[in-house]
């Protein structure tokens, strides 16, 4: 097995990979940008070195060489789906922990992937084969497909550069926004157009392949709950598939057909849209570890990051398709520094108080700690709270229990919003679709008044607090109460 591996990422996923490396007795090398000097992944890694950016291939490879790393784990986002990076690793004699540069290239472009899917008899959503390079072409393509249509960045992922367009009048503005967003996110403004499937569910299949031609699927994840086209709650199994068990094998086989076509190895995820009747359409392939991989781990009992490392090391997948067992139900909430009351607007800043949930059936993959300042520069994801229980209702109740214990003070978060969602009748019935969150805001009831009891409790605590803080802070501004001042002296540099 590798003796040393560099983790080319940050936040909770870098922490998760560092943990896996330690469990396999592999020395971990973290990289960090200036704002991340004191980040959790740097604290937990064996070695750490500064890079000017998580996107700078040269300086990452330089660190890898300097530290004698044998392989590089890209995590998700950043360079994880960059074929050039995969190729550069190989060129530098470094193992890229993921699929081949060729697979990334062939599956990375959505248009190319669509064509391949069609060729492999995997149903796709009607849409344009080539990117809409100019407004005229876009208008024409949109007319052919018929409104409403969806604009998507060709190189994209995570909903960046995505726009729904209901009428031609909106097309020009939407194209402009989508392209500029795509340009910023992926350095490619290419956008293409596809038909909107109404009330679709987002269901994806986890696949894994090795260098010896073994390809297995690990079942599905349903990720229909999305805001800004980004997933916020994922689960395994999918309520839809739990009701139609045959779909798992069907979709799994479809996913494996695409993987086989490119001789895929390591982890990958094939995303589908599914409609009410259980018809499903190929969406795209994510050629990397997925944010929501833990729900699959809790249900199958497999460790996907361990698996990635063994496979990259040339080992065979130690089980066959028939050995994969799905036990119970797992659900994940993506805890982010954002404000659901302001269109999920990001809310970076300092975490002045943090209490994390624990106990039976709880897994917390977090990238933060008390006193950590969530930087403005990156995605607002703070942690992933995952619960397991024998059934879906058990997982939901356990999630509510964990959310009750979870407290983050200093930045806005979506914790309270998750509590609401998990109590929503439609959510509990598993009637999900990708518009669920938007629709929810439509039927959302305003929270009632706190009531006199809570006001009295608040008053008592406020009185106790000021009685308590006065001695130390009489001569200071309120902001600089004892524990905040410690926090402020944060990094000594």
């Amino acid at each position: 097995m590798f003796r040393k591996v560099l983790v080319a990422n940050r936040g909770e996923i870098a922490v998760r990979v560092v943990r896996a490396l330690r469990e396999l007795d592999i020395t971990s090398v973290a990289v960090f940008s200036d704002v991340d000097r004191g980040a959790q992944h740097v604290r937990l890694a064996d070695e750490a070195e500064r890079v000017d950016s998580y996107l700078n291939i040269d300086s990452i490879l330089e660190v890898a060489k300097k530290h004698g790393a044998e392989a590089i784990h890209p995590g998700y986002g950043f360079l994880s789906e960059n074929a050039g990076f995969a190729a550069a690793c190989e060129a530098a004699g470094m193992v890229f922990i993921g699929p081949s540069a060729d697979s990334i290239r062939r599956l990375g472009s959505k248009t190319a992937a669509r064509t391949l899917a069609k060729k492999m008899n995997v149903p796709v959503v009607p849409g344009s084969e080539e990117p809409a390079t100019n407004l005229e072409l876009a208008r024409e393509l949109a007319r052919q497909i018929g409104y409403p249509v969806l604009l998507k960045a060709a190189a994209g992922g995570g909903g960046k550069g995505m726009r729904r367009v209901d009428a031609e009048s909106e097309l020009e503005a939407a194209i402009r926004d989508a392209s500029s967003e795509a340009e910023r996110a992926f350095h490619s403004s290419e956008v293409y157009i596809e038909k909107v499937i109404e009330q679709p569910r987002h269901i994806e299949i986890q696949i894994v392949g090795d260098f010896h031609g073994n390809l297995v699927h690990l079942g599905e994840r349903e990720c229909s709950l999305q805001r800004r086209h980004q997933k916020i709650i994922e689960e395994c199994p999918s309520p839809l598939i739990a009701a139609n068990p045959a779909m798992r094998a069907e979709m799994g086989e479809a996913a494996l057909r695409i993987a086989r076509a490119v001789g895929y190895h390591n982890l990958g995820t094939v995303e589908f849209l599914a409609d009410g009747e259980g018809k499903f359409y190929f969406l795209e392939v994510n050629t990397r570890l997925q944010v929501e991989h833990p729900v699959t781990e809790l249900v199958t009992g497999l460790d996907l990051v361990h698996l990635q490392l063994h496979i990259a090391n040339g080992e065979s997948i130690p089980f066959a398709q028939g050995d994969v067992e799905w036990r119970g139900w797992a659900m994940e909430c993506r805890v982010s520094a954002e404000d659901p009351e302001q269109h999920f607007f990001p809310s970076p800043g300092k975490i002045v108080q943090l209490r994390e949930p624990a106990g039976p059936g709880i897994r917390l993959d977090s990238g933060v700690y008390p006193g950590w300042t969530v930087p403005l520069d990156y995605d607002p994801l703070l942690a992933k709270l995952i619960t397991w229980a024998p059934d879906r209702m058990g997982a939901i109740r356990r999630m509510l229990r964990a959310l009750h214990e979870y407290s983050i003070v200093g930045v806005e978060t979506n914790l309270a919003f998750f509590r609401e969602l998990l109590n929503d009748a439609e959510f509990r019935e598993g009637r999900l679709n990708t518009r669920f969150i938007a629709d929810y805001f439509g039927r959302r009831k305003a929270g009632g008044e706190p009531g006199e009891e809570l006001e009295l409790v608040a008053a008592l605590a406020a009185a106790a607090h000021s009685a308590n803080e006065k001695p130390e802070t009489r001569n200071e501004k309120p902001e600089t109460s004892a524990w905040l001042s410690e926090g402020r002296s944060g990094l000594l540099r």
């Binding site: 960046k160 926004d177 500029s180 967003e181 910023r184 996110a185 800004r228 404000d339 302001q342 269109h343 607007f345 990001p346 809310s347 970076p348 002045v352 108080q353 209490r355 403005l376 520069d377 990156y378 995605d379 607002p380 009750h404 407290s407 003070v409 200093g410 914790l415 309270a416 509590r419 929270g447 706190p450 009891e453 809570l454 006001e455 009295l456 409790v457 608040a458 008053a459 008592l460 605590a461 406020a462 009185a463 106790a464 607090h465 000021s466 009685a467 308590n468 803080e469 802070t473 309120p478 902001e479 109460s481 004892a482 524990w483 905040l484």
Partner: protein, 150 residues
């Protein structure tokens, strides 16, 4: 002896003895037992008094105390009703209106990008644009006024 606490703008009288029974379990974290029920309150000092979290709800509180009053009124001045401010630091991607324009409720005014997401600042109510304080490419901090509506 009774203390007067301002909670969400409402005056709540409390007994000093009850305050004594509140247990500080961690810095800024208080365990309150009231009528046999157990509550945990998290308190953070803010510009305008205290911000409290309790049973997943937010409260603002202020202990009636001459020293605090000055600060508060000072803070109060900061919040003009007509101003469209940036809720967080970011970069102005595109200004959608010009001074003198008439805008309707919900109309987009400025697009700000932060944490890799574009966010359109919308008009909270109809009116005309008195002032535009930013232009494309500007970097803004939280609270910076972007546009003033008359």
């Amino acid at each position: 002896m009774k203390l007067q606490i301002l909670v969400n703008g409402r005056l709540v009288p409390v007994d000093a003895e009850d305050v004594q029974r509140v247990a500080q379990v961690e810095p800024g974290v208080y365990s309150v037992l009231l009528g046999g029920r157990s509550f945990e309150v998290r308190a953070v000092a803010a510009r305008d008094g205290l911000r409290l979290e309790l049973s997943g709800r937010r409260f603002t509180a202020e202990v009636r105390d001459p020293r605090d009053r000055a600060q508060k009124s000072a803070a109060a001045l900061g919040t003009g009703r007509q101003n469209i401010a940036a809720p967080m630091p970011g970069k102005v991607v595109r200004v959608l209106v010009g001074e003198g324009d008439v805008v309707e409720v919900g109309q987009g005014l400025v697009v700000v990008e932060a944490m890799k997401m574009q966010n359109e600042m919308k008009a909270l109510r109809g009116g005309n644009v008195v002032e535009v304080r930013v232009r494309d490419g500007d970097t803004v901090s939280a609270g910076d006024v972007l546009v003033v509506l008359g």
